[in-house]
Symmetry: none
Subunit: 114 residues, 2 copies
DNA sequence: TGCAATTGCTTGATAAAATAAGCGTTTGCT
DNA sequence: AGCAAACGCTTATTTTATCAAGCAATTGCA
């Protein structure tokens, strides 16, 4: 359903298999606060904090704010429901290649199912 | 010399010949706080507040943050050869799920390669 | 199996953001 | 001139973000 800042941050962290304390070390944001953020207990985090995390996770800052509902989406591009993991800036070149291959594979399968 | 949030916001407001109270009405941020912001008495404003103002003044949010020294200048935007394949509108929900799982797997492997 | 480290999380304290109220000054109107 | 409204700003207060400490549960290893 609704994308929240918590979901996005948690997903980004788990995707990288980092613990809250590892993120604390790398970002300077305390693990206690990170937990609160991930559980959507913080309503208006500072731009600084949000930026640190977007930088660490390599996700676009604007996108993070939009998806988190902090701001209404700017342009039309009428889909907010997107998943972050794949905004291409999140992926290394190699990962991208492999994912595309895998996607081809998935679609190839699907075709046979019909 | 130094660009500060205060200077930027004040300049933007005066350019439009708005009073603090007019900005308050249009943005929802109190005039008292606006004054503090313009005089650089606030160190870490929330993303929400900053965004409201950037929107009202129609200035780029990232630029505001950079100029305000909240973030360091973002480097190469050369990554913007964005890949279509993964922009979420191209994926079914199921595909997205599977791809995330696969990505987790990829990164899990990678981590063990230390 | 058992101890130690690590996990995510809650809670209490503190610092800071954000507001409401009010100040003295300036502007505009009759 | 004189009143009223609007101005930017300061201060007091409320609200919120953020952190340090510590919890129970899980994991890793001898």
């Amino acid at each position: 359903m609704e994308n929240t800042i918590g979901k996005i941050l948690k997903e980004a962290r788990e995707l990288r298999r980092l613990s809250l304390r590892e993120v604390e070390i790398q970002s300077g944001v305390s693990n206690a606060y990170l937990s609160q953020l991930e559980n959507d207990k913080i309503k208006k985090p500072s731009a600084n904090t949000l930026y640190k995390l977007s930088e660490l996770f390599n996700i676009n800052f604007d996108d993070l704010m939009v998806a988190a509902g902090i701001v209404e989406k700017k342009k039309d591009s009428s889909k907010t429901e997107g998943h972050f993991a794949f905004s291409s800036e999140n992926l290394t070149g190699d990962e991208e290649k492999r994912l595309i291959e895998y996607l081809k594979f998935l679609r190839y399968q699907q075709k046979d199912d019909k």
